[in-house]
Amino acid sequence: MTDTKTTILHQERIVPQIFRLCLSSPGIAQEARPGQFVHLRIREGTDPLLRRPFSIHRVDRERGEVQVLYQVVGQGTRLLSRKPVGERLDALGPLGHGFEVSEEGGGVLLVAGGIGIAPRFFLCEDWLRGRAGTALIGARTRDGILCHDLLRSGGVTVHIATDDGSFGDRGVVTDLLNAQLEAGREASASPIVYACGPVAMLASVAALCRAYEVPCQVSLESRMACGLGACLGCAVKVRSSVPPGYEYQRVCTEGPVFEAEEVIW
Protein backbone atom coordinates (compact mmCIF):
# COMPACT_ATOMS: atom_id res chain seq x y z
CA MET A 1 0.00 0.00 0.00
CA THR A 2 1.37 3.36 -0.88
CA ASP A 3 0.48 6.77 0.41
CA THR A 4 1.77 8.91 -2.32
CA LYS A 5 1.54 12.44 -3.47
CA THR A 6 0.04 11.79 -6.85
CA THR A 7 -0.30 14.38 -9.58
CA ILE A 8 -3.43 15.10 -11.56
CA LEU A 9 -2.59 14.29 -15.16
CA HIS A 10 -5.98 15.10 -16.58
CA GLN A 11 -9.51 15.50 -15.54
CA GLU A 12 -12.50 15.72 -17.86
CA ARG A 13 -16.21 16.01 -17.53
CA ILE A 14 -17.83 13.12 -19.37
CA VAL A 15 -21.45 14.05 -18.86
CA PRO A 16 -22.91 16.60 -16.48
CA GLN A 17 -21.88 15.67 -12.92
CA ILE A 18 -19.60 12.82 -13.96
CA PHE A 19 -15.85 13.26 -14.23
CA ARG A 20 -12.91 11.12 -15.17
CA LEU A 21 -9.77 11.84 -13.20
CA CYS A 22 -6.37 10.52 -14.18
CA LEU A 23 -3.61 10.41 -11.59
CA SER A 24 0.04 9.63 -11.94
CA SER A 25 0.87 6.99 -9.37
CA PRO A 26 3.13 4.14 -10.45
CA GLY A 27 2.89 2.49 -7.06
CA ILE A 28 -0.88 2.29 -7.02
CA ALA A 29 -1.09 1.39 -10.71
CA GLN A 30 1.29 -1.49 -10.14
CA GLU A 31 -0.46 -3.04 -7.19
CA ALA A 32 -4.11 -2.37 -7.96
CA ARG A 33 -6.53 -5.23 -8.57
CA PRO A 34 -10.07 -4.85 -9.95
CA GLY A 35 -12.58 -3.83 -7.31
CA GLN A 36 -10.06 -2.07 -5.10
CA PHE A 37 -10.26 1.61 -4.30
CA VAL A 38 -8.19 4.69 -3.58
CA HIS A 39 -8.81 6.97 -0.63
CA LEU A 40 -8.32 10.59 -1.67
CA ARG A 41 -7.67 13.60 0.51
CA ILE A 42 -9.67 16.32 -1.15
CA ARG A 43 -7.89 19.38 0.18
CA GLU A 44 -5.72 20.66 2.97
CA GLY A 45 -7.31 22.06 6.06
CA THR A 46 -10.13 20.56 8.04
CA ASP A 47 -13.15 21.04 5.80
CA PRO A 48 -13.83 18.51 4.45
CA LEU A 49 -11.87 16.59 7.03
CA LEU A 50 -12.02 12.98 5.92
CA ARG A 51 -10.77 11.32 2.76
CA ARG A 52 -13.18 10.17 0.07
CA PRO A 53 -13.08 6.61 -1.35
CA PHE A 54 -13.31 5.95 -5.10
CA SER A 55 -13.07 2.71 -7.01
CA ILE A 56 -10.17 2.32 -9.32
CA HIS A 57 -11.71 2.64 -12.74
CA ARG A 58 -8.75 1.80 -14.89
CA VAL A 59 -5.00 1.56 -14.60
CA ASP A 60 -2.16 1.85 -17.04
CA ARG A 61 0.64 -0.05 -15.37
CA GLU A 62 3.25 0.90 -17.92
CA ARG A 63 2.60 4.60 -17.67
CA GLY A 64 1.92 4.43 -13.97
CA GLU A 65 -1.52 5.97 -14.30
CA VAL A 66 -4.67 5.42 -12.28
CA GLN A 67 -8.13 6.53 -13.31
CA VAL A 68 -11.17 7.27 -11.24
CA LEU A 69 -14.68 7.85 -12.56
CA TYR A 70 -16.80 9.83 -10.18
CA GLN A 71 -20.04 11.62 -9.77
CA VAL A 72 -20.42 14.99 -8.09
CA VAL A 73 -22.79 14.43 -5.17
CA GLY A 74 -21.56 16.76 -2.44
CA GLN A 75 -18.88 19.12 -1.26
CA GLY A 76 -15.94 16.75 -1.59
CA THR A 77 -16.64 15.61 -5.11
CA ARG A 78 -17.48 19.18 -6.17
CA LEU A 79 -14.13 20.40 -4.90
CA LEU A 80 -12.40 17.48 -6.58
CA SER A 81 -14.00 18.32 -9.90
CA ARG A 82 -12.52 21.83 -9.77
CA LYS A 83 -8.96 20.71 -9.29
CA PRO A 84 -6.60 21.73 -12.06
CA VAL A 85 -4.19 19.50 -13.91
CA GLY A 86 -0.79 19.46 -12.24
CA GLU A 87 -2.11 19.73 -8.72
CA ARG A 88 -0.88 17.21 -6.17
CA LEU A 89 -3.38 14.88 -4.61
CA ASP A 90 -2.81 12.73 -1.56
CA ALA A 91 -3.98 9.21 -2.41
CA LEU A 92 -3.93 6.16 -0.22
CA GLY A 93 -4.23 2.87 -2.01
CA PRO A 94 -4.89 0.47 -3.47
CA LEU A 95 -7.18 -0.49 -0.62
CA GLY A 96 -9.69 -3.20 0.00
CA HIS A 97 -10.52 -6.64 -1.21
CA GLY A 98 -11.45 -6.69 -4.90
CA PHE A 99 -13.29 -9.11 -7.13
CA GLU A 100 -12.50 -12.80 -7.02
CA VAL A 101 -12.35 -13.93 -10.59
CA SER A 102 -12.69 -17.63 -11.16
CA GLU A 103 -11.47 -19.22 -14.35
CA GLU A 104 -14.36 -21.62 -14.62
CA GLY A 105 -18.05 -21.17 -15.29
CA GLY A 106 -20.12 -20.10 -18.19
CA GLY A 107 -19.06 -16.58 -18.78
CA VAL A 108 -19.11 -13.38 -16.87
CA LEU A 109 -22.08 -11.09 -16.39
CA LEU A 110 -21.33 -7.53 -15.31
CA VAL A 111 -24.21 -5.59 -13.88
CA ALA A 112 -23.80 -1.89 -13.27
CA GLY A 113 -26.16 0.83 -12.20
CA GLY A 114 -25.17 4.44 -12.79
CA ILE A 115 -21.70 5.30 -11.54
CA GLY A 116 -21.42 1.64 -10.50
CA ILE A 117 -19.83 1.10 -13.87
CA ALA A 118 -16.59 2.59 -12.54
CA PRO A 119 -14.88 -0.47 -11.06
CA ARG A 120 -16.42 -2.71 -13.65
CA PHE A 121 -14.27 -1.33 -16.36
CA PHE A 122 -11.01 -2.21 -14.69
CA LEU A 123 -12.39 -5.68 -14.18
CA CYS A 124 -13.03 -6.06 -17.88
CA GLU A 125 -9.70 -4.76 -19.00
CA ASP A 126 -7.78 -6.75 -16.52
CA TRP A 127 -9.47 -10.10 -16.50
CA LEU A 128 -11.71 -10.49 -19.43
CA ARG A 129 -9.37 -10.04 -22.34
CA GLY A 130 -10.38 -12.78 -24.70
CA ARG A 131 -13.06 -14.30 -22.48
CA ALA A 132 -16.77 -14.08 -23.10
CA GLY A 133 -18.23 -11.22 -21.15
CA THR A 134 -21.55 -9.47 -21.08
CA ALA A 135 -22.23 -6.15 -19.44
CA LEU A 136 -25.67 -4.99 -18.39
CA ILE A 137 -25.77 -1.27 -17.78
CA GLY A 138 -28.63 0.65 -16.32
CA ALA A 139 -29.27 4.27 -15.50
CA ARG A 140 -32.12 6.70 -15.20
CA THR A 141 -31.44 8.43 -18.49
CA ARG A 142 -29.11 8.32 -21.43
CA ASP A 143 -26.62 10.59 -19.67
CA GLY A 144 -26.10 8.03 -16.95
CA ILE A 145 -24.93 5.31 -19.34
CA LEU A 146 -21.18 5.40 -19.28
CA CYS A 147 -18.31 3.53 -20.87
CA HIS A 148 -20.43 1.30 -23.07
CA ASP A 149 -18.31 2.14 -26.13
CA LEU A 150 -15.12 1.33 -24.34
CA LEU A 151 -16.53 -1.94 -23.14
CA ARG A 152 -17.76 -2.88 -26.60
CA SER A 153 -14.43 -2.10 -28.17
CA GLY A 154 -12.92 -4.38 -25.53
CA GLY A 155 -15.04 -7.22 -26.91
CA VAL A 156 -17.75 -7.17 -24.29
CA THR A 157 -21.37 -7.62 -25.28
CA VAL A 158 -23.31 -4.69 -23.88
CA HIS A 159 -27.01 -4.43 -23.06
CA ILE A 160 -28.46 -1.16 -21.90
CA ALA A 161 -31.60 -0.14 -20.03
CA THR A 162 -32.77 3.30 -19.00
CA ASP A 163 -35.74 4.19 -16.84
CA ASP A 164 -37.05 6.56 -19.46
CA GLY A 165 -36.10 4.50 -22.48
CA SER A 166 -33.86 7.27 -23.80
CA PHE A 167 -31.14 4.68 -24.48
CA GLY A 168 -31.44 0.91 -24.86
CA ASP A 169 -34.47 -0.81 -23.38
CA ARG A 170 -36.92 1.05 -21.24
CA GLY A 171 -36.70 -0.47 -17.80
CA VAL A 172 -34.21 -1.33 -15.13
CA VAL A 173 -31.00 -3.25 -15.29
CA THR A 174 -32.44 -6.13 -13.28
CA ASP A 175 -34.90 -6.73 -16.14
CA LEU A 176 -31.90 -7.27 -18.38
CA LEU A 177 -30.33 -9.53 -15.79
CA ASN A 178 -33.50 -11.55 -15.48
CA ALA A 179 -33.55 -12.12 -19.22
CA GLN A 180 -29.88 -13.14 -19.23
CA LEU A 181 -30.26 -15.52 -16.34
CA GLU A 182 -33.34 -17.04 -17.91
CA ALA A 183 -31.50 -17.52 -21.20
CA GLY A 184 -28.52 -18.95 -19.34
CA ARG A 185 -30.71 -21.44 -17.52
CA GLU A 186 -32.18 -22.60 -20.79
CA ALA A 187 -28.68 -23.00 -22.18
CA SER A 188 -27.50 -24.61 -18.91
CA ALA A 189 -24.67 -22.09 -18.81
CA SER A 190 -24.31 -20.68 -15.36
CA PRO A 191 -22.49 -17.36 -15.40
CA ILE A 192 -20.79 -15.46 -12.58
CA VAL A 193 -22.38 -12.11 -11.82
CA TYR A 194 -20.39 -9.05 -10.72
CA ALA A 195 -22.60 -6.20 -9.64
CA CYS A 196 -22.07 -2.64 -8.57
CA GLY A 197 -24.51 0.21 -8.14
CA PRO A 198 -27.08 1.61 -5.74
CA VAL A 199 -27.92 -0.56 -2.76
CA ALA A 200 -31.53 -1.16 -3.84
CA MET A 201 -30.33 -2.41 -7.21
CA LEU A 202 -27.74 -4.67 -5.62
CA ALA A 203 -30.32 -6.18 -3.34
CA SER A 204 -32.51 -7.02 -6.33
CA VAL A 205 -29.56 -8.44 -8.22
CA ALA A 206 -28.66 -10.57 -5.21
CA ALA A 207 -32.22 -11.85 -4.94
CA LEU A 208 -32.34 -12.74 -8.63
CA CYS A 209 -29.00 -14.52 -8.50
CA ARG A 210 -30.10 -16.48 -5.49
CA ALA A 211 -33.29 -17.48 -7.28
CA TYR A 212 -31.29 -18.65 -10.27
CA GLU A 213 -28.60 -20.16 -8.05
CA VAL A 214 -25.94 -18.15 -9.76
CA PRO A 215 -22.86 -16.92 -7.88
CA CYS A 216 -22.76 -13.19 -7.50
CA GLN A 217 -20.24 -10.70 -6.14
CA VAL A 218 -21.33 -7.21 -5.22
CA SER A 219 -19.25 -4.13 -4.60
CA LEU A 220 -20.64 -2.16 -1.65
CA GLU A 221 -20.25 1.40 -0.52
CA SER A 222 -20.38 2.90 2.92
CA ARG A 223 -19.08 5.97 4.65
CA MET A 224 -15.44 5.56 5.50
CA ALA A 225 -13.01 7.18 7.84
CA CYS A 226 -9.67 5.33 7.89
CA GLY A 227 -10.03 3.02 4.88
CA LEU A 228 -7.50 0.77 6.63
CA GLY A 229 -9.69 -1.43 8.78
CA ALA A 230 -8.97 0.39 12.01
CA CYS A 231 -12.00 2.54 12.80
CA LEU A 232 -14.81 0.01 12.18
CA GLY A 233 -16.83 2.87 10.74
CA CYS A 234 -17.61 1.26 7.41
CA ALA A 235 -19.42 -1.74 8.83
CA VAL A 236 -21.89 -3.71 6.76
CA LYS A 237 -24.16 -6.43 8.11
CA VAL A 238 -23.35 -9.95 6.88
CA ARG A 239 -24.56 -13.42 7.75
CA SER A 240 -22.77 -15.34 10.44
CA SER A 241 -22.95 -18.94 11.54
CA VAL A 242 -22.81 -18.05 15.20
CA PRO A 243 -25.56 -16.30 17.18
CA PRO A 244 -27.16 -13.82 16.65
CA GLY A 245 -26.79 -14.98 13.05
CA TYR A 246 -25.15 -11.81 11.80
CA GLU A 247 -21.99 -9.84 12.26
CA TYR A 248 -20.44 -6.69 10.85
CA GLN A 249 -17.65 -6.65 8.34
CA ARG A 250 -15.58 -3.76 7.08
CA VAL A 251 -16.28 -2.51 3.58
CA CYS A 252 -12.71 -1.16 3.42
CA THR A 253 -11.05 -4.44 4.36
CA GLU A 254 -13.25 -7.52 3.96
CA GLY A 255 -14.89 -5.57 1.10
CA PRO A 256 -15.76 -3.55 -0.87
CA VAL A 257 -16.50 -6.74 -2.83
CA PHE A 258 -18.60 -9.32 -1.00
CA GLU A 259 -20.33 -12.52 -1.97
CA ALA A 260 -23.90 -11.33 -2.50
CA GLU A 261 -25.38 -14.11 -0.43
CA GLU A 262 -23.34 -13.15 2.61
CA VAL A 263 -24.81 -9.67 2.74
CA ILE A 264 -27.89 -8.90 4.82
CA TRP A 265 -29.69 -6.25 2.79
Binding site: R223, C226, C231, K237, Y248
Partner: protein
Protein backbone atom coordinates in the same frame (compact mmCIF):
# COMPACT_ATOMS: atom_id res chain seq x y z
CA UNK B 1 33.52 14.92 19.51
CA UNK B 2 31.10 14.57 16.65
CA UNK B 3 29.08 11.98 18.54
CA UNK B 4 28.79 14.32 21.47
CA UNK B 5 27.57 17.09 19.23
CA UNK B 6 25.07 14.95 17.37
CA UNK B 7 23.88 13.53 20.66
CA UNK B 8 23.33 17.06 21.92
CA UNK B 9 21.35 17.80 18.79
CA UNK B 10 18.88 15.02 19.35
CA UNK B 11 16.45 16.36 21.90
CA UNK B 12 15.13 13.94 24.47
CA UNK B 13 11.49 13.19 23.76
CA UNK B 14 11.08 10.57 26.46
CA UNK B 15 8.59 11.08 29.24
CA UNK B 16 7.16 9.20 32.20
CA UNK B 17 3.50 8.64 32.88
CA UNK B 18 3.72 7.61 36.50
CA UNK B 19 5.53 4.27 36.36
CA UNK B 20 5.42 4.01 32.55
CA UNK B 21 8.38 5.18 30.53
CA UNK B 22 7.62 6.24 26.94
CA UNK B 23 10.18 6.96 24.25
CA UNK B 24 8.13 9.94 23.18
CA UNK B 25 4.84 11.53 24.25
CA UNK B 26 2.82 10.62 21.15
CA UNK B 27 0.32 7.79 21.47
CA UNK B 28 -2.26 6.51 19.02
CA UNK B 29 -5.71 6.96 20.58
CA UNK B 30 -8.11 4.15 21.35
CA UNK B 31 -10.52 3.17 18.61
CA UNK B 32 -8.65 5.01 15.91
CA UNK B 33 -5.69 2.70 15.46
CA UNK B 34 -7.34 -0.71 15.58
CA UNK B 35 -5.01 -3.24 17.15
CA UNK B 36 -1.93 -1.63 15.60
CA UNK B 37 -1.59 -4.07 12.73
CA UNK B 38 -3.88 -2.03 10.50
CA UNK B 39 -1.22 0.69 10.27
CA UNK B 40 1.79 -1.55 9.86
CA UNK B 41 1.85 -1.18 6.10
CA UNK B 42 2.04 2.61 6.19
CA UNK B 43 4.46 3.28 9.03
CA UNK B 44 7.13 2.07 11.41
CA UNK B 45 5.14 1.42 14.58
CA UNK B 46 8.25 1.36 16.75
CA UNK B 47 8.57 5.11 16.34
CA UNK B 48 5.40 5.69 18.34
CA UNK B 49 5.38 6.55 22.01
CA UNK B 50 2.67 3.95 22.35
CA UNK B 51 -0.49 2.40 21.00
CA UNK B 52 -3.78 2.46 22.85
CA UNK B 53 -5.98 -0.36 21.60
CA UNK B 54 -9.66 -0.28 20.73
CA UNK B 55 -11.78 -0.81 23.86
CA UNK B 56 -11.75 -4.42 25.04
CA UNK B 57 -14.75 -5.96 26.78
CA UNK B 58 -15.24 -9.35 28.37
CA UNK B 59 -17.22 -10.87 25.52
CA UNK B 60 -16.87 -10.01 21.84
CA UNK B 61 -19.19 -7.18 20.81
CA UNK B 62 -20.65 -6.60 17.39
CA UNK B 63 -21.15 -2.88 17.86
CA UNK B 64 -23.87 -0.56 16.65
CA UNK B 65 -25.88 -0.75 13.42
CA UNK B 66 -24.59 1.30 10.49
CA UNK B 67 -24.24 4.05 9.45
CA UNK B 68 -21.58 4.38 12.12
CA UNK B 69 -19.84 7.57 11.09
CA UNK B 70 -20.68 10.89 9.58
CA UNK B 71 -18.53 13.86 8.87
CA UNK B 72 -19.29 17.20 10.51
CA UNK B 73 -17.61 20.60 10.26
CA UNK B 74 -13.95 19.93 11.06
CA UNK B 75 -14.94 16.80 12.88
CA UNK B 76 -16.72 13.49 12.74
CA UNK B 77 -19.32 11.64 14.71
CA UNK B 78 -18.92 7.95 15.40
CA UNK B 79 -21.24 5.43 16.89
CA UNK B 80 -19.10 2.33 16.64
CA UNK B 81 -20.33 1.09 19.97
CA UNK B 82 -17.32 -0.73 21.43
CA UNK B 83 -17.24 -3.37 18.70
CA UNK B 84 -14.32 -5.60 19.64
CA UNK B 85 -13.10 -9.18 19.67
CA UNK B 86 -13.44 -9.68 23.43
CA UNK B 87 -10.63 -10.11 25.92
CA UNK B 88 -9.87 -13.79 25.20
CA UNK B 89 -9.43 -13.32 21.47
CA UNK B 90 -7.56 -10.09 22.08
CA UNK B 91 -4.99 -11.78 24.29
CA UNK B 92 -4.71 -14.72 21.93
CA UNK B 93 -4.86 -13.06 18.50
CA UNK B 94 -3.91 -9.42 18.87
CA UNK B 95 -1.34 -9.24 21.66
CA UNK B 96 1.38 -11.27 19.91
CA UNK B 97 1.58 -8.65 17.18
CA UNK B 98 1.29 -5.70 19.56
CA UNK B 99 4.02 -7.14 21.78
CA UNK B 100 6.36 -7.21 18.81
CA UNK B 101 5.83 -3.59 17.76
CA UNK B 102 8.61 -2.10 19.84
CA UNK B 103 6.34 0.45 21.44
CA UNK B 104 4.30 0.72 24.62
CA UNK B 105 0.98 -1.12 24.56
CA UNK B 106 -1.90 0.38 26.51
CA UNK B 107 -5.13 -1.57 26.52
CA UNK B 108 -8.40 0.36 26.65
CA UNK B 109 -10.87 -1.44 28.92
CA UNK B 110 -14.65 -1.07 28.86
CA UNK B 111 -17.55 -2.80 30.49
CA UNK B 112 -21.28 -2.86 31.04
CA UNK B 113 -20.86 -3.36 34.75
CA UNK B 114 -18.29 -2.83 37.44
CA UNK B 115 -17.71 -6.60 37.43
CA UNK B 116 -16.95 -6.58 33.73
CA UNK B 117 -14.28 -3.88 34.10
CA UNK B 118 -12.72 -5.85 36.94
CA UNK B 119 -12.76 -9.14 35.09
CA UNK B 120 -11.29 -7.72 31.90
CA UNK B 121 -8.55 -5.98 33.88
CA UNK B 122 -7.81 -9.15 35.82
CA UNK B 123 -7.44 -11.20 32.66
CA UNK B 124 -5.22 -8.60 31.01
CA UNK B 125 -2.96 -8.51 34.07
CA UNK B 126 -1.80 -12.02 33.33
CA UNK B 127 -0.89 -11.15 29.76
CA UNK B 128 2.74 -10.15 29.22
CA UNK B 129 3.64 -7.08 27.16
CA UNK B 130 0.94 -4.75 28.39
CA UNK B 131 2.33 -1.48 29.77
CA UNK B 132 -0.84 -0.01 31.19
CA UNK B 133 -4.62 -0.17 31.15
CA UNK B 134 -6.72 2.78 30.08
CA UNK B 135 -10.04 2.43 31.84
CA UNK B 136 -12.68 3.80 29.53
CA UNK B 137 -15.35 5.18 31.83
CA UNK B 138 -16.40 7.60 29.16
CA UNK B 139 -17.72 5.98 26.01
CA UNK B 140 -20.86 7.78 24.88
CA UNK B 141 -21.91 5.07 22.46
CA UNK B 142 -23.28 2.31 24.65
CA UNK B 143 -26.64 2.25 26.28
CA UNK B 144 -25.72 0.52 29.51
CA UNK B 145 -22.93 2.05 31.52
CA UNK B 146 -20.04 3.60 29.68
CA UNK B 147 -20.91 7.23 30.00
CA UNK B 148 -22.75 6.70 33.25
CA UNK B 149 -19.60 5.40 34.94
CA UNK B 150 -17.60 8.47 34.06
CA UNK B 151 -20.21 11.15 34.68
CA UNK B 152 -20.37 10.77 38.43
CA UNK B 153 -17.26 11.18 40.57
CA UNK B 154 -18.34 8.51 43.07
CA UNK B 155 -19.10 5.90 40.43
CA UNK B 156 -15.94 6.76 38.54
CA UNK B 157 -13.88 6.34 41.69
CA UNK B 158 -15.61 3.06 42.50
CA UNK B 159 -14.73 1.59 39.10
CA UNK B 160 -11.11 2.68 39.31
CA UNK B 161 -10.85 1.47 42.90
CA UNK B 162 -12.26 -1.93 42.02
CA UNK B 163 -9.91 -2.34 39.07
CA UNK B 164 -7.01 -1.11 41.19
CA UNK B 165 -7.59 -4.01 43.56
CA UNK B 166 -7.09 -6.69 40.92
CA UNK B 167 -4.12 -5.48 38.92
CA UNK B 168 -0.57 -4.25 39.34
CA UNK B 169 -0.66 -2.61 35.92
CA UNK B 170 -0.57 1.19 35.82
CA UNK B 171 -4.09 2.55 35.44
CA UNK B 172 -5.09 5.48 33.27
CA UNK B 173 -8.66 6.69 33.79
CA UNK B 174 -10.12 8.01 30.54
CA UNK B 175 -12.52 10.83 31.25
CA UNK B 176 -15.59 12.06 29.46
CA UNK B 177 -16.02 15.76 28.59
CA UNK B 178 -19.81 15.50 28.87
CA UNK B 179 -19.86 16.63 32.47
CA UNK B 180 -20.21 19.81 34.48
CA UNK B 181 -16.98 19.35 36.42
CA UNK B 182 -14.32 17.19 34.85
CA UNK B 183 -11.72 18.32 37.37
CA UNK B 184 -13.82 16.89 40.18
CA UNK B 185 -13.96 13.53 38.46
CA UNK B 186 -10.22 13.62 37.81
CA UNK B 187 -9.60 14.29 41.49
CA UNK B 188 -11.92 11.42 42.46
CA UNK B 189 -10.17 8.83 40.28
CA UNK B 190 -6.81 10.08 41.51
CA UNK B 191 -7.90 9.32 45.06
CA UNK B 192 -9.17 5.93 43.94
CA UNK B 193 -5.72 4.97 42.73
CA UNK B 194 -5.47 5.98 39.09
CA UNK B 195 -1.87 6.52 38.00
CA UNK B 196 -2.89 8.99 35.33
CA UNK B 197 -5.92 10.45 33.61
CA UNK B 198 -6.47 10.77 29.89
CA UNK B 199 -8.93 13.18 28.32
CA UNK B 200 -11.03 13.91 26.45
CA UNK B 201 -13.16 11.16 25.05
CA UNK B 202 -15.71 12.31 22.47
CA UNK B 203 -18.47 14.86 23.03
CA UNK B 204 -22.02 13.61 22.58
CA UNK B 205 -23.28 14.86 19.24
CA UNK B 206 -25.87 14.27 16.57
CA UNK B 207 -26.39 14.88 12.89
CA UNK B 208 -29.61 14.76 10.97
CA UNK B 209 -30.25 14.10 7.31
CA UNK B 210 -32.65 16.97 6.75
CA UNK B 211 -33.83 15.58 3.43
CA UNK B 212 -34.91 12.25 4.81
CA UNK B 213 -35.77 13.56 8.26
CA UNK B 214 -33.72 10.88 9.98
CA UNK B 215 -30.62 10.70 12.13
CA UNK B 216 -27.43 10.22 10.14
CA UNK B 217 -26.18 7.56 12.56
CA UNK B 218 -27.62 4.15 13.25
CA UNK B 219 -27.00 4.85 16.92
CA UNK B 220 -28.90 8.20 16.64
CA UNK B 221 -26.31 10.11 18.68
CA UNK B 222 -22.58 9.57 18.48
CA UNK B 223 -19.26 10.86 19.70
CA UNK B 224 -17.76 14.00 18.21
CA UNK B 225 -14.01 14.01 17.59
CA UNK B 226 -11.49 15.85 15.48
CA UNK B 227 -10.24 19.45 15.21
CA UNK B 228 -13.71 20.82 16.01
CA UNK B 229 -13.35 19.73 19.64
CA UNK B 230 -9.77 20.83 20.20
CA UNK B 231 -10.65 24.06 22.06
CA UNK B 232 -12.92 22.14 24.45
CA UNK B 233 -10.29 19.46 25.03
CA UNK B 234 -7.57 22.02 25.67
CA UNK B 235 -9.65 23.92 28.23
CA UNK B 236 -10.39 20.68 30.08
CA UNK B 237 -6.79 19.46 30.02
CA UNK B 238 -5.66 22.80 31.40
CA UNK B 239 -8.28 22.70 34.13
CA UNK B 240 -7.57 19.09 35.10
CA UNK B 241 -3.79 19.55 35.04
CA UNK B 242 -4.19 22.21 37.70
CA UNK B 243 -6.52 20.05 39.78
CA UNK B 244 -4.57 16.79 40.06
CA UNK B 245 -1.06 15.61 40.93
CA UNK B 246 -1.07 12.57 38.63
CA UNK B 247 0.00 12.92 34.99
CA UNK B 248 -2.52 14.09 32.44
CA UNK B 249 -2.64 12.67 28.91
CA UNK B 250 -4.30 15.12 26.55
CA UNK B 251 -6.23 14.52 23.38
CA UNK B 252 -8.97 15.89 21.20
CA UNK B 253 -8.45 17.18 17.69
CA UNK B 254 -4.67 16.97 17.60
CA UNK B 255 -3.63 17.10 13.95
CA UNK B 256 -0.03 18.29 14.06
CA UNK B 257 2.92 19.03 16.30
CA UNK B 258 1.66 22.54 17.00
CA UNK B 259 -1.55 21.10 18.42
CA UNK B 260 0.42 18.61 20.51
CA UNK B 261 2.52 21.48 21.88
CA UNK B 262 -0.62 23.35 22.90
CA UNK B 263 -1.75 20.37 24.98
CA UNK B 264 1.67 19.94 26.57
CA UNK B 265 1.91 23.65 27.37
CA UNK B 266 -1.50 23.31 29.03
CA UNK B 267 -0.09 20.58 31.25
CA UNK B 268 -0.36 17.29 29.36
CA UNK B 269 2.58 14.95 29.87
CA UNK B 270 1.70 13.06 26.72
CA UNK B 271 -0.86 13.27 23.94
CA UNK B 272 -3.02 10.86 22.03
CA UNK B 273 -3.84 11.25 18.37
CA UNK B 274 -7.19 9.94 17.18
CA UNK B 275 -9.15 11.23 14.22
CA UNK B 276 -5.98 12.57 12.58
CA UNK B 277 -4.99 8.96 11.84
CA UNK B 278 -7.89 8.79 9.40
CA UNK B 279 -6.89 11.94 7.59
CA UNK B 280 -3.22 11.08 7.36
CA UNK B 281 -2.29 7.62 8.63
CA UNK B 282 1.23 8.82 9.39
CA UNK B 283 0.03 11.70 11.56
CA UNK B 284 1.54 10.28 14.73
CA UNK B 285 5.00 10.07 13.23
CA UNK B 286 4.74 13.52 11.69
CA UNK B 287 3.93 14.80 15.16
CA UNK B 288 6.90 13.03 16.75
CA UNK B 289 9.15 14.57 14.11
CA UNK B 290 7.54 17.96 14.50
CA UNK B 291 8.08 17.94 18.26
CA UNK B 292 11.71 17.01 17.72
CA UNK B 293 12.14 19.87 15.26
CA UNK B 294 10.52 22.35 17.62
CA UNK B 295 12.74 21.37 20.51
CA UNK B 296 15.79 21.65 18.29
CA UNK B 297 14.75 25.09 17.02
CA UNK B 298 14.19 26.32 20.53
CA UNK B 299 17.38 24.77 21.80
CA UNK B 300 15.57 22.65 24.35
CA UNK B 301 17.13 19.45 25.59
CA UNK B 302 13.97 17.71 26.71
CA UNK B 303 10.32 17.76 25.84
CA UNK B 304 9.64 17.91 29.57
CA UNK B 305 10.56 21.59 29.51
CA UNK B 306 7.34 22.27 27.66
CA UNK B 307 4.94 20.46 29.97
CA UNK B 308 2.73 22.94 31.78
CA UNK B 309 4.90 25.87 30.66
CA UNK B 310 1.93 28.00 29.68
CA UNK B 311 2.24 31.56 30.95
CA UNK B 312 -1.18 32.78 31.96
Amino acid sequence: MSTVLSKKNVPDLSIEIGPIHLKNPVLAASGTFGYGQEFEAVMDLSRLGGIVTKAITLEPRLGNPPPRIVETASGMLNSIGLANVGVAAFVRDKMPFLRSCGTAVIVNVAGRSMEEYVEVARRLSDCPGIHALEINISCPNVQEGGLAFGADPKVAAAVIGAVRDVTQLPLIAKLTPNVTDIAGIAAAVQEAGADAVSLINTLVGMAIDATRGRPELGGVTGGLSGPAIKPVALAMVWKVAQAVRIPVIGMGGIMNAGDALEFMLAGAVAVQVGTANFVDPTSTIRIVEGLEDTLRERGMGSVKEIIGALEV
